[in-house]
């Protein structure tokens, strides 16, 4: 599968998503709802059932993107 990865540049921090209109978050049984782009080093929630879910980016901002 050809990967169309987009990088949203935010100064020094790079959030990378597989498409330019989608973010991914981790769904667990807890309240935490961060994007899956973060690395979870030792979060106990990961031992539970969890899913990575795509979510469309909805916003007014027109973000300049660099394509790889």
């Amino acid at each position: 599968m050809e990967e169309s990865r987009t990088i949203l540049k935010n100064e020094r921090l790079h959030f990378s998503y597989f498409t330019d209109i989608t973010k991914y978050y981790l769904l667990t049984g807890g309240s935490g709802y961060p994007l899956a782009d973060f690395v979870f080093s030792s979060t106990p929630a990961l031992k539970q059932t969890s899913f990575v879910i795509p979510e469309n980016i909805v916003g007014s901002a027109k973000i300049v993107r660099d394509r790889l």
């Binding site: 990967e3 020094r12 921090l13 597989f18 807890g30 935490g32 994007l35 030792s42 899913f51 879910i53």
Partner: protein, 328 residues
Amino acid sequence: MAREQRVEIIKKISEIRGSKVLCYVTGDRENVSTRIAPDVTPVFYRHLEKLGECKQIDLFLYTRGGDVLTPWRLAHLIREYTNRFTVLVPFRCYSAGTLLCLSADEIVMGKMSELGPIDPSVVNAFNPQDPNNPAAKIPVNIEDVYSYLALAGEKAGVCSTDQQVKAFTLLAERIHPLALGNVHRNYLLIRSLAKKMLALHHLPLKEGRIEHIVDNLTEKLYAHNHMISRREAADELNLAVSIPDTSFEPLMWSLYQDYAEELALSEPFNPSEKLIGGKTEFEVVSGFVESMQGADAFVFSGVVEKRDFPENGQVNVSILKQGWKTIS
């Protein structure tokens, strides 16, 4: 503003309403959002125990939604301490938040208040894979599945049993049968939950009103991101909406603004701003449960570090810990 100022606003609201006030804010700050989930139940319990039994509890609620079963548990827990439960909605109160409102005897809505439909998307291990990311499962919206079957019947003229089987087979070829089973179970669950939440009212609702509300909130708004204003909630959905007077509404709004400012809801969380040298630890608060008696915060903590491999200047963010933490 700090907690001291918020306590002053909470105290004023409590005096005006003759109630005890509990605030629940799930932050929607980009990159560190939080949601309604079962792990908040013991946090509510701690606050409710401190507040004690009383004639009315006002829940100040800001949320984009979350787990659909948690509102049922929270509503029951709150009603262990009071006969009259009301929700104060300053701004967004979507999905699972709206579901929680259904159990309230009164929903106080200002000009900016918004409720949302309760038509959840569901996901389980059998959901379709996201073609752009093999690690991700695509959620299936329950109403989309039923809408497809309705479309096949109403617009495409699928009426014979054979044609219905064909339409369903087509669907089952795209979505795993167990994922479809999960959709149907949740279709029944959300309606059942909404009805049971409305039945928790101190004064029972008239016959037919519950069905009207549930039908509207689950399938007749046609868009999951439909924003329901107080006028629509009161006049069309027939919810137990009350309008705050001109002195009370600014109080609700100023409390919301305080949380929005404290949680920096309008600006994305960017841990690289905290980076000093090659590696820095960070903590960010992204949710609150607060009353006059105390405060709990949902805290993400982790490490942000700069690496020069595989890409020069790459910043990596690792979340090491997340959860509710008592801060006061």
